[in-house]
Symmetry: C2
Subunit: 253 residues, 2 copies
């Protein structure tokens, strides 16, 4: 079965979607067959990869509801996606009486990821049923950590959630690592957060640091990952490095 990674952090705007899109694209460019599952009702990963609303016929909501789903092509070789729509936000209510509501994605994933090497699940900014489903379906959790003050505050809550899932449903779930994002070398705060993260989390923190780079935030408006929109930019280079380090960490380099 494919290496399945949940990209999660309940703090909002830290770079979860940007990491799912660009790590996914960088892996695909190296020939790694990659599937992105958009599990956020905002559908930003689907939009950032140019999937129009009308094209989102079979979605991650359908996957959780137990229906047959066919991933969509993204126009990037080896990269496909199961897109999201807003109706995903009612899944808590729909599955409220289902005793197996936490394992729905794990059960469904086998059917959509037959010819896949890596699955990346983009999570919403919350520790709700959607993020729990992603963690239960995953082998490990990748945590984007923005280099800002509020970033470290939510981390202990996230690690507690992972530990609880490991204790109850997924004994082998682990943290893949923490990726520092939007690092601004002119800003004291960034240096401080990096120092604190490496001291407190040690080897969990990836060596690759993603800089704040305007080309990264421009890329989604052209419906392309920054690694294709501007491959020579500092942001793209960092995501190529991240893909290399990621493959080494999961023994696929």
């Amino acid at each position: 079965p494919p290496a399945t990674i949940a990209i999660a952090n309940q703090k909002g705007g830290v770079g979860k979607t940007t990491t799912a899109i660009n790590l996914g694209a960088a892996l695909a460019m190296r020939g790694v067959r990659t599937l992105i599952i958009d599990l956020d009702p905002q559908g930003n990963a689907s939009t950032g990869l140019g999937i129009a609303n009308e094209a989102r016929e079979s979605t991650s909501h359908d996957l959780l509801a137990g229906m047959e789903v066919e991933p969509l092509e993204t126009g990037i070789e080896h990269l496909s996606i199961v897109p999201a729509t807003a109706d995903l936000s009612s899944i808590d209510v729909e599955l409220a009486d289902d005793a197996r509501r936490a394992v729905r994605l794990r059960e469904a994933l086998g059917r959509v990821s037959r010819e896949t090497d890596v699955v990346l699940i983009d999570c919403p900014p919350s520790l709700n049923l959607l993020t729990v489903n992603a963690m239960v379906a995953a082998n490990s959790v990748l945590v984007p950590l923005q280099c800002e003050f509020f970033a470290l505050e939510g981390l202990s809550q996230l690690l507690l959630t992972v530990r609880e899932i490991r204790r109850t449903i997924s004994p082998r779930l682990r943290i893949e690592g923490v990726v520092l994002t939007m690092y601004d070398k002119r800003n004291n705060l960034s240096r401080q957060v990096e120092r604190d993260a490496r001291e407190y989390l040690e080897d969990l923190v990836f060596r690759t640091v993603i800089p704040r780079n305007v080309r990264v935030s421009e890329a989604p408006s052209f419906a392309r990952p920054v690694v294709l929109y501007d491959p020579r930019s500092a942001g793209a280079k960092a995501y190529f490095d991240l893909a290399q380090e990621f493959l080494t960490r999961i023994d696929m380099a």
Copy 2:
């Protein structure tokens, strides 16, 4: 009763907490008695105002559970807060069988805001029961909108939710306005988002625009709002302007 405003946007990291803290502090500095309700389990508004975890004895979770709550002083005259802790995240489950779960905050707010002019409710990045409670308790919704590509995408979902609450529970709920945040004048994207927002939303968009300003992101690490941490900074000036424009809009200038 006080003017009650929900600061909401399900897109993460757009400046909801930063706006609650700094609009709140700027209003208090003008003698407007202001109460902040931290309704995000991350508790960032509480942390950003220097409320230590140990001091969060009576919280917004208690408010929703129907208990007596006494707001805490923030050290800033005329500004008080009902802080948040992580147990707020289980409120969905706790109130699942309560037919009145959506009006809990509205019913409780009268008891804590007797000597208040303005109540600001900081919402989590989601359209869940917490944000619904905030909108039902409020007279209007203030929407921080980050000047980035994904920002406009979630707006229609947010406006639909407000319309639904107006139709079902709160006939007088309206949009106070949209505040553009993290505007970077060097960045084409910011100009484009501003142009689109003013064309699409017209007078709903506040004239005041909050610039991206490193002093704003540094302030929380000193547990002070930027309007006190560095009142001459571009970020602080913008929040003073916002407070002026806000008071004019709610007829309290």
